[in-house]
């Protein structure tokens, strides 16, 4: 994928929507080693006060990271990435799953050809990350 050109403060990343199903969570649990049952077992999730099974925060972080690295064209160019988890992504036990939408824009141009990207990550119109920003190398 080619690198973005003519980047300035306010430049927007292509909006991305990701579908998250229970199968995705099981797969992520296996790959990451995070087997907390609130991410795959409704009985346990509801017993600790959650509405249903929720996605791993790190899975949401990874999806939002893809929106950034697909834009820069280089997964190795993401040098700093910081998120604060606000609200969980609830994943129903159906084939449709949940939808996570990632929007981003360049918040600042930094020295050494780097830029700060500010992300807005939502599900069902609600923000799931109360802070999400990445610093990427553009050149």
């Amino acid at each position: 994928m080619s690198r973005p050109v003519d980047v300035e403060v306010g430049s927007e990343l292509p909006e991305r929507t990701f579908t998250v199903t229970r199968a995705d969570l099981v797969r992520y649990a296996g790959a990451s080693g995070d087997f907390n049952p609130i991410h795959w077992n409704q009985r346990v999730a509801t017993s600790v006060g959650l509405p249903d099974v929720i996605a791993h925060g790190m899975f949401t972080m990874a999806l939002a990271g893809r929106a950034v690295t697909d834009w820069t064209g280089d997964p190795g160019a993401l040098v700093e990435y910081h998120v604060r988890f606000g609200r969980p992504v609830v994943v129903p036990d159906d084939d449709a799953g949940a939808e996570v939408t990632v929007r981003g824009k360049v918040g600042a141009l930094l020295e050494d050809g780097r830029a700060r990207v500010d992300l807005t990550v939502t599900t069902g119109g609600e923000k799931v990350l109360s802070l999400a920003r990445a610093i990427v190398r553009l050149a």
């Binding site: 994928m1 990701f18 995705d24 797969r27 992520y28 296996g30 790959a31 990451s32 080693g33 995070d34 600790v48 925060g57 790190m58 899975f59 972080m61 990874a62 999806l63 990271g65 893809r66 690295t69 280089d74 997964p75 190795g76 993401l78 040098v79 700093e80 990435y81 910081h82 998120v83 604060r84 988890f85 802070l131």
Partner: protein, 148 residues
């Protein structure tokens, strides 16, 4: 019981070596739906200037969260894991993690706070190669609900 502020700055011994494998990187990339060949094709990674396939940026959690669990197991911390949720995560990549890396994790307690009945524990995990090359710093803020 609220966490003791004296814990701030406490360090833990370096972890055992975690050897990063190509298959693990490919598995993680597939799990997050990332199909960039730089994660599974060593030739593509070399063409992009890397010695071997590189890991997606959040792969660092595979190594760092396990290291941070050392803190939860500290008898002077002893947070109830069933009450713990992930509040915040930050990665600073000094360079991408890549296949063949032999990583050692060193964990430190960076901050302890109590807010609205919750204990907030911030751990910093420094990932370096066995030879001491800094690779990634992963900072995790964990929230223990209703423990303070």
């Amino acid at each position: 019981m609220a966490l003791d502020r004296e814990l701030v700055g406490r360090g833990y011994p370096p972890s055992a070596v975690y050897e990063v494998g190509r298959a693990k990187i490919a598995e993680f990339a597939a799990a997050i739906g990332e199909d960039d060949p730089i994660h599974r094709d060593a030739d593509a990674a070399r063409a992009a200037g890397h010695p071997d396939v590189i890991a997606p940026p959040t792969f660092a959690i595979v190594v760092s969260l396990e290291a941070a669990f050392v803190v939860l197991g500290d008898p002077e911390v002893s947070l109830d894991y069933s009450r713990v949720v992930h509040g915040e995560q930050k990665f600073t990549h000094h360079r991408p993690i890549r296949a063949g890396d032999r990583l050692v994790a060193t964990t430190t307690i960076d901050a302890v706070r109590s807010v609205a009945g919750n204990d907030l524990l911030t751990t910093r995990v420094d990932l370096a190669t066995e030879d001491g090359e800094a690779v990634c710093t992963a900072t995790s803020m964990l929230v223990a609900r209703g423990t303070a």
